[in-house]
Symmetry: C2
Subunit: 307 residues, 2 copies
């Protein structure tokens, strides 16, 4: 990795900002990270929260490479990477990039962690729109390897290439999304399955907890090892995915049709009454979740599959 | 576990039958398994195929508890469990259960591995319809822990309870599906995500291989540790799933709407032209898949999460 990518300015110190700060500090031992946020008592807040993200590492070394800054120009002035995770608000994002552009070095990469406000929208008031690219994490980024890299139609290829190079150098999995579409890819896929899950629970086919057990004992481990296309390609034997669809396609279409019908009949839209029972069942089954245990197990799973 | 559940008759020696035979032989060391099938050269076929399923175990011990039988009555006469995975054909299944019922002991459990022909349909010509329950695996069952247990409205609770007890005793994850619905739960969920995956690839948003990378680096490991409801419940912090939906619900609904629109516009139905490019990309990316490596990695993942 080129040494020029080692000065990271984190804009916005919410949970995603802190998780990204931890990721750079721990996976890139030569990095220096500045964190900018307008919240009061910023230092105290970061000093109390950040160590929770620095597990199994030399915390003192990490913290020695961290700078907490309450001035945007100061935060970005030496940066080789500016990574933004402010409010999910188009006006905020449109207004902050020209300021960053004004103070950051010319070669700095500009990344937004947005889950939905595309680069072409955010960059409207920038002088050089080709510099901005969305880098959308799967939370929390210091644990989950995926980064959806979503250029606008004018983002430069060089920006995309340097972005991929940085993340690959840190052992992460950056994936280029070729079109700026609603929700990008990971959320679109996950929410499609979530809708079916809500529909099946709302119909009383399965409980919330049993549905989670189904996924944990089947698709979860399978898709950790091989994504859906690769899995069904294997399922088709020598004829691959085409053979799978020839054999099972009828059942697949029946499921899709049943799904459409059930979603329509059940009124499975956000905010409708079916939600109440799903919320109640989930709260009863899980109470407050220990994310530290979740993260520890996720690390173990990722380690197991990488061997 | 009661000793009465140790004599298993496997009806149908295809890949699922052999995988189940291997599962009983390896996870239940007191089991005796008979395999019935009408194919020619049955012994030779099983002797060549079955050892591939008996990995990291005492093969000689397993094979000493196996009997290969070419007469249905003989296969089931001492059975405490009869597990059927014949052709996915309602007439075949309706006709075989009365024969099995005639020859099997009165207390034997009757399980069908069907992925879609429900117990109420299969049991129509049985004397005692309360004995039959669907036990649908996630392939291959000697690796994947999930078993969808799908009773008909007349399946006896005792049959369901004994079925759950057996599988839990073997360390598997049996889940009761409360209504006989199209595709049961695992396939409904997986195919809902598959449709979205096909739609996004067909639109050129992402390549087949990159889509698989997205899933392997995000939902796969996440859902191995915590299913979708549990995951989003954690994502909502102290307010849980309800809080998550209050914050992110707008985005969720936008994704659902975009999904409906794209599926419609793209004609994402089985057998349409979009398939050709998906098949081509998949074949080019993966060729022929090594399922032994997939199974080895899946075992490692399951071991990691169970710790």
């Amino acid at each position: 990795m080129s040494t020029s990518n080692n000065r990271v300015a984190i804009i916005g110190a919410g949970t995603i900002g802190l998780s990204f700060a931890a990721l750079h500090l721990t996976k890139n031992p030569r990095s220096n990270v500045s964190i900018f946020d307008t919240r009061p008592n910023l230092e105290q807040y970061i000093e109390s929260k950040l160590p929770g993200y620095l597990v199994d590492v030399d915390q003192a070394d990490c913290l020695s490479r961290l700078r907490i800054v309450q001035d945007l120009a100061e935060a970005v002035k030496d940066a080789s990477i500016v990574q933004e995770q402010g409010p999910e608000n188009a006006d905020f994002k449109r207004s902050i990039w020209p300021k960053i552009e004004q103070h950051a070095p010319e070669a700095a990469l500009f990344w937004s962690s947005t889950s939905g406000i595309v680069a072409s929208e955010q960059s409207k008031d920038m002088q050089d729109k080709s510099r901005l690219v969305v880098v959308h994490p799967y939370n929390p980024p210091h644990i989950m390897p995926l980064l959806e890299v979503v250029p606008s139609s004018v983002t430069s290829q060089e920006v995309v290439d340097r972005t991929l190079e940085y993340w690959r150098g840190l052992g992460r999995v950056p994936v280029v999304i070729r079109k700026e579409c609603t929700g990008f890819v990971a959320n679109r896929l996950a929410f499609a399955l979530l809708r079916e899950a809500c529909s099946l629970v709302a119909q009383g086919v399965v409980s919330v907890e049993d549905l989670d057990s189904v996924v944990q004992a089947s698709m979860g481990p399978r898709w950790t090892v091989a994504g859906p296309f690769k899995s069904y390609h294997a399922g088709g034997g020598e004829g691959g995915l085409e053979s799978f669809m020839q054999k099972i396609g009828g059942t697949v279409q029946e499921c899709w049709d049943a799904s459409d019908n059930d979603v329509k009949q059940g009124g499975i839209e956000v905010g409708r009454t079916w939600q109440d029972d799903v919320f109640r069942q989930t709260e009863k089954a899980y109470g407050v979740i220990d994310t530290a245990e979740r993260d520890r197990k996720t690390k173990a799973v990722l380690q197991a599959v990488s061997k």
